[in-house]
Each structure stands twice: as C-alpha cells, then as structure tokens.
C-alpha cells in the first residue's frame, strides 16, 4: 500500500465514520432521505393524469423546485408552459404570458394540497402523520415504498383514497389514487439537493426564501 493509497484509505474510513457518527435529521424515516437543513431539491417531473372513462392520460412534464417548509415551484413545460407555486400563502398560477393569478389564496378548500404535495415530494412523512396512516415497506429492500391512507374521519379522505410513494434516495415515484378510479402518476427524475439560497428567478416566486 503506497502512502498515498494509505492516506486515501484513512480519509475514506474517516469520512464513513463521521457520516455514521453524525446525528440523523429528526424527519429521517425509513425509505426517505431528508434534505439537510439549508438545502432545497430540484429535479424534473412527469405527471400522468388518468381520468376514469378516458383512454389516454393527460400527460405533462417540467421542472420542480422544492424548498422544505418554504414551498414548491412546479414549472410545466409541456404540453403548455406554466408555473404553479405552492407557497405558504396558497397557490399561485403564472401562465405562459406571465399573467399571475392567486388561484385560491389561503383558501382552506384547496390549501390542503399545499401541505400534502410538498410533504409527499419532500418525503416528510411525519408532517402527514396527523392525517394519514403511514405504512413503510421493509427497510431491507433497496427501493422503499411508503403508503399513505387518509384517516377514516379525515377531511381529505373524500378526495384521496391513498398515496403511494417510492424511491431510492429521494422520492422518485408518487401515485395518488382518487375516488371514482382517477389517479395521478408523478415521476421525479434528476433530483439534486442544493444549498440555499435560491436563484433570483426562483426566489422571486417563493416569498420568504432568500435569493442568491
């Protein structure tokens, strides 16, 4: 073993040891890796909306930016460009012409999705435990799966039958089963954790987060 290889080995062992000794974030649960504090997640999505009675799914693709406790920017590129922002103040839409509209503001009837979608994509199951039964797949399996079933008396139970999320490091796949046989398949790819602050263009869409 050359000195250089020895040093590299030491560094490697040190790195592994330090990783093991580091306290895990409180929200880390089996099957999900929580984002470190001060980080956000970016990636691409594909949303297939299946409506009962229609053969073809309504398919859309685009980018997303997820800031834990900050909000979600959902930028659809195809078939039509548009941005949906799920922020602390509610849901805002920006169409292809840059026309901004607060679709529902802080309206409770729709605002529940702000928490739901953001928490699911983040893999923050603890935030959902007051509304859902959370079932984890066995930790031995490399690709984990989490199933969220709304509580019987839960208000959201009338809109969602269950949510199944799966992935390896982050949440890669989400299926939202709705009453009447409708379901949404969301696939997340090319996900990367980045350190805050957000780039200026994104920060302007999510008030409360700092820009670069």
């Amino acid at each position: 073993m050359t000195p250089a290889r020895f040093v590299r080995s030491l560094l490697c062992i040190g790195l592994i040891a330090s990783t093991m000794l580091l306290p895990k974030p409180a929200s880390a649960r089996p099957g999900a890796v929580a984002l470190e504090k001060g980080h956000y997640l970016v990636g691409e999505f594909s949303l297939d909306r299946h409506l009962a009675g229609f053969d073809a799914a309504l398919k859309s693709t685009g980018d997303f930016t997820l800031v834990p406790k900050g909000g979600l920017i959902w930028q659809t590129k195809k078939p039509f460009p548009g941005t949906t922002i799920l922020g602390p103040t509610g849901i805002t839409n920006i169409d292809a012409d840059g026309e901004k509209s607060s679709v529902v503001g802080g309206n409770a009837q729709f605002g529940v999705f702000v928490d739901l979608i953001s928490s699911v994509l983040e893999g923050n199951w603890s935030a959902l435990e007051n509304r859902f039964h959370v079932e984890f797949s066995p930790p031995s399996e490399p690709e984990w799966q989490v199933r969220l079933v709304p509580f019987g008396e839960s208000a959201i139970g009338g809109q969602i039958i269950d949510i199944v999320a799966s992935g390896t490091r982050y949440v890669d796949q989400v299926r939202i089963n709705k009453p009447g046989g409708d379901y949404d398949d969301i696939t997340l790819t090319d996900q990367q954790a980045k350190a805050l602050p957000l780039p200026k263009d994104k920060a302007s869409l999510l008030p409360g987060t700092t820009a670069q």
Binding site: L47, R49, L51, A52, G53, F54, D55, A56, L58, S60, K69, W74, T76, P79, F80, G82, T84, L86, P88, T89, G90, I91, N93, D95, A96, D97, E99, S101, V103, V104, G105, G106, N107, A108, Q109, F110, G111, V112, F113, V114, D115, I117, A127, N130, R131, S154, A155, I156, G157, G158, Q159, K178, P179, G180, D182, D184, I186, G208
Partner: protein, 806 residues
Amino acid sequence: MTGRHATAWIICLVMAAAWCAWQIGGGHTRIDADFISLIGQENPEDSDMYNDIDNVRHVLAQDSRRAIFMVSAPTRERAINAATDLGGRISWINGTEKVTTPDDQAGRLPELLAFFQPHATALLSPQDRKALKADQGAKLYRRALQSIYSPTSTINARSLRDDPFSLLPHYLAAMAGKLGDGSGVVHRDGRFYVPVIASLDPRLASSDRDAQWVNDANRIVATLEKTPDIEVARSGQVFFAAAESSHAKADVKRIAMLATTGIVFMVGLVFFSWGPLLAALITVGSGILAGITAVTMIFNTVHAIALVFGASLIGIAVDYALHYVSIDPARGSARKRLRMILPGLTLGLITSIVGFAALSISPTLLLTQIAIYSVAGLIAAYLTVIFLLPFLPVQPVRNYLPIRRSVAALRYAQYSITPPTWGRLSLVMVILAGFAACSHYITSNDSIRNLGHGNESLIKQTITIRDVMGLGASPMFLRIEGKTSEDRLQTEEKLREKLSPLLENGTLGGMVSLADIIPSQKRQAENMALVRDKLYAPFAAQLAQNLPVNITPPDPAKASFLLPDAATLLVLPELANLQSGKGDLVRLRGVQDVAALKTALGDLENVHLIDPASAISDLFGRYRHWAYLALGVAMFAALVLAVFRYGLRDGICVFGAPAGAVLCALAGSFALGVPHNFFTTMALFLVFAIGADYVLFLAESRNSPHDQDTSLAVLLSLISSVLAFGLLATSSVPLVSDIGTVIAIGLIAAWILAPVMAGRRSMNPAGHLHDLVQDANEDEDDEDMYDDDTPTHRNQTHDTQGHGDA
C-alpha cells in the same frame, strides 16, 4: 286567621312548591337565561312592530352559536398540528356541535363540487366575470389549460365534461372567502395563523352550560399555549357573555353574602330570637314561590331577568314580615297585633299591586312576566303574614338596645322637623315641580354598551382575529326586502355595485350577501351568455383539441338555475346566517365610517341598515317608556288610594313620600352620573313600592300605641333593603351598580320622607309602658282595637304622654 286557615295556606304553598318542582325540575317550563331570546319577545298581537329586532335576534342567535379560535405558530406545520389538536379537544366538550378546521373545509370540496357542478357555467367568480366582460377570455382559457395539468387540480371526468374551463373552483374559492369560514392558513409577519371554528349547540346559550363550555375551552387553550411559540386567540359571543356573567355573578355573590349576613345579624341582634328570622324567611320564600308558580302557570318559558326582578320583591315582602314582628308582643295577642298592622299592610299591598300590575300594560312579555311574578308574590307574602306569622314565636325588641333608643331619638327629630299640613302640601308641590324639572333636564341613555363591564383581553383578541383572518362579522348588517327571492337577490347585486367603492377604499372591510353565493337568475343567465360568447365560442375548439371530451356550449334557455332553496341550504347551512324570515340579510365586516355607508346606500330601495346595538338600545328605550308610563299610573293610583283613605290634604301628603323618594332617586342618581335606562326605571318601581309601604305603615300607626314599633319596623326595613339592594351599588358591573345606587338613594329618601309626610305623630319615645297597660285592658275585652279606639281618644292619650315625655 285560625289554624285551619294556616293549614290551608301551608297546603297551598306545598302544592305550589310541588308545581314549581314539576314544571322547572321536569323541564316543562324553561328558564331562559339567554339575553338574545329576551330581545323582541313581544306579546303576539304586537309582533309586527319589531321587524328590525327580529332580524337582530336572528343575527345574534346565529353569531352566538359560533366560537372562533385562531392558532398561530412560527411554522405552518406546527400551526396546523396545533389547530388540529385544538379542534379535536374542543369537539369533545359537551355543547360543541361541530368543529371546523381548514382540513374540514377541504373535506367539503367534493360535496360542493358535486352540488354546484350542474350550474358551473352560470356561476362566475367576480374576477372571472370581470375578465369575460373585458374580453379577456384568453386569460381564462390559458388558466384552464394550466389547471388541468396542475398537481393540485381537482378535475375529474365529470368536471371536465360540465366545466372544461375550470370556472367552478374559482367560484367556490371566492364564495368561501366571502363566507368567512373558508380562510385557510394565513402567513403574516413570520407567523402562520390557522382558524378553528366551533359551532355550538343552540341550547347552550339558553342554559347555564355556556359558562362551563367556556371554562373547558379556556382550559384547553391554556394547555395548548404551554407549548412554546403556540398562541391561541379566541372570540365569539359565548366568551363575552361568559366573562360578563362570571363577573356579575362574582359581584352579586359577594354582595349577597354580605347582605344575608348583615340581615341575619341585624334581626338576631334586635330580637334575640329565631322567630322573627324565620318569619322573614317564610314570608319572602312564600312570595318567591307564588311568583314562580304564577309565571310558570301562564308561560312556557320564563326569562331569568323576569325572575331576578321578580325576586327583588324580597325587599317588599320582608317589610311585611318586619312590620308584624316589630310589634311588641306585650301589646296583645297575635290576632290583635295583626289587626294593628293590617290596614297599613293592606294599603301597602294594594299600592304595590297596582304599581306592578301597571307594568303589564306594556306590550313586552318581559314586563308582563315581572308584573305577574310580583303581584302573585306580594299577595302570597301578605297572606303568609296573615295566616302563618301569628303562629310563630316572637320576642320583644329589647328596650336597652341602641336601635330602640335610636328610633326614639329619630322620632323626636322627625317630630321636630315635620311641618304642618300646608308645609307638607307645599313640599308635594315642590316634588311635582321637581318631576317636571327632571323630565326637562334628565336625559336617558339606553345604550346597551353602558350595561356591561367589557373585557379588554377578549376585545383585543377579537380585533386580532378580524385583522388577520377577516373572521367575525361586524354587528352591523343590512336587511333586504322584496316580494320574491329573485327581487332580493337582484337588489343585493345592485347593492354590491353601490358599495364597491367603499370596499376598495377600505371604508368597508367586507360584505357577504346571499347573491354572492347564489346569484339571481337574471345574473346566472347573464353569466351563461358571457361564458358562451366570450369563452366557449372563441376557445372551446382549441381546448377540445387538448382534452378527450366533447365540449358543448351552455344554453341559457335550457339551463336550470341555482336557487336559494332547501336543497342549497342543506349543502350550505351557512346561508341561514343570510336569511331571516321573508327577508335577506347582508353581513358587513369592518365598517369604518357609518355615515359614508349610509351615503353610499343612498336611495337604494328595500335596503335598511341595522345596527344591533342601536336596535336593542331603542328597544330598551321603548321598554323604559312603558315602565315610566306604568310608574306614572302606579303613582296616580297611589294618590287616589291615599286620598280615599286619608282625605284630600293628608292623602296628597302621604302620596308625597314615595313620589319624593322616586324623585330623589332619579335626580340623585343622575347627579352621580348613573345613566337612566329601563333597568334603573325598574329600580324606581321598587323605590316607589317600598317607599309607599313606609309611609302607609307610619300613617296607619299614626297616634296609635304601636307607632314606635312601626318606626322601628321601618328602620329595620330600611337597613335590610339597603343591605339587600344598596350594596349592589358597590358592584363593578355598571348595570348592577346603577340599580343599587338608584335603590339606595331612593330608600334613604323614602325613610326620611315617610314620617315627615305621614304627618304629626305622638311623641312617646320612652314611655310606651302606658301603652302596654292600655293594651292589656283592651285585651281583656278582646275587641278590635283599631275599630273601637276612636282617633280622638288615642290622640288624647298619646298627646298627653308625648307632652309628659317632652
């Protein structure tokens, strides 16, 4: 009054007690403690006169069923979790009907979407309507496309067919915002605010369980606030009512303790016997029992205020008992002693009955209930004195007691200052002139804001909730009239246009009308035409290329419109808040400038601005006028009675005592800053009735052997009444304090004026021994002392004694 009479009367009282227990204990007669239910409860034939009040009752009743909590935390997650926790705990409190959190609002969405979906093209949010009118259909088209692919979309196969442009979610969002319950999480100044709204059982407000509900809720809030960073604000009528009630109850409890102790101590000290105390208790008790029996026999529901005012006849009934027990037992048998006081007692009863019966001439159920309670109660107290008290043991007042000597000294003082008849008549003229002056100078203040204590903390929390969430409607509202619901809806739509400038410049914080939720059919037809011409016509084909559905333009001719019918009320029970009888109500929020609002309403027909505080104050103003009228009738009746009994001049003088007491109470309390309202007028009634008793007792015993005993009875009566009512003046609750002040001033004035106006009397402060000898001789004859003693004879006897003492 024989043993048989007493037995019969006891049986009557026992039956009355059984009746009361069955009626009230068994729930057959409801004791209504709800302030709101009192408002506008008029006798049936007058019900059409108080339309505004009916609406106020409706609005207040709706608002009283809602308790608003606002949970705040530094993070959204913590705020929502705390709100969910709070909602869960509140729902377990006995009296909570339903708890609504933002999650629950979300839970209603499928039901609302399903109900409104068939009418989707007729229902436009104000923004969408404005956009279509401005030819901005393209904007809505782009939004529809985006909505279809949004991760938060609520679309399904049916909604795509019925509402391909996703107009309905925007309409529902606007509707929820207006209804006030739709607010979700609000982010402001680094904190997240979540509303939790509790709907309360309607029976809670009319029972005494509301205080328990508030206690339980406050305990839950306190537990929640132990968590760092969690804050909870609360608002709602139930909290204000409980705070006010608890404050008043604490005060009255303290005063009642003091008064009871004082009266028991006084009677014990004066008589050294339990007999007089028992006599006072059974007289008062039988009065209250008979009062409750009478009102429960006539009314299915008795208001607590009627019971409280009725129970104030304790002050009169106790006089009857004291009047009897103060007569020295050495003056003769029980029967003889009773006969001594009977004329005064009977006259006092008749005067009080006429006074309280006069209250029933008003159209208000409350005053009628007070009148019936009081009349029945006083008659029962009178009968108890006649039938039962003679069977109770009595002890003479010890001569060596300071009170006996004080009475003697006071009698001497009164003798010295008592003017001759012309002087007393002049005093009556002055009193009448005083009334004329009072009617000119004394202004009334019926504002209900003067009655309560106010709770700074609750007011602050209410303002915070209103500012942050826009929750909690203003007490002001508009009443919309119209022959049909369509007429009213169209008026409401015009109203919104009129008030738009005020809404934009912040003069008006917000408003919600039925038309905001269910547009008029005319407006729905217009909406459909707009959607068809400005949205479907240019964009339906483009949208259809992207959706796997056939898009059919709406046809107003074939459309079924949404109506404010029972089916809609079932889905949106909140709409009950916007309807009252045959009219609609428009709820206002944050009215900053009432004058500007009135100006904006201008000549809009069938729209009436109603301020509940003013409406209730006006109602109490009407009650006050009825009470004044009844008081006038009572005083006139007393004058007539006095003139019949004592002749013209003496009668007028006797009448002057209660009248002077009322005048002193009126002017004195006004000088002390007490606002004059319905409740203080009712206090004047009490002053009049007790004052009349004082002077009648003294006038009847004038120049008779038991004159000094009567003076003592009147003094004891004053002490007990001041202890029972005068101490109320020390209360921190304005209403209670005001009543106490009026009664205290009035009774002291009555006590001073009664012997003066009753006329010159014998002066025998220390020499009643001769009376006893005289009485003993009369006892042997067992004759009616009052009938057999000629005034001349008595005058001679006592004048001689008086001069001798002097």
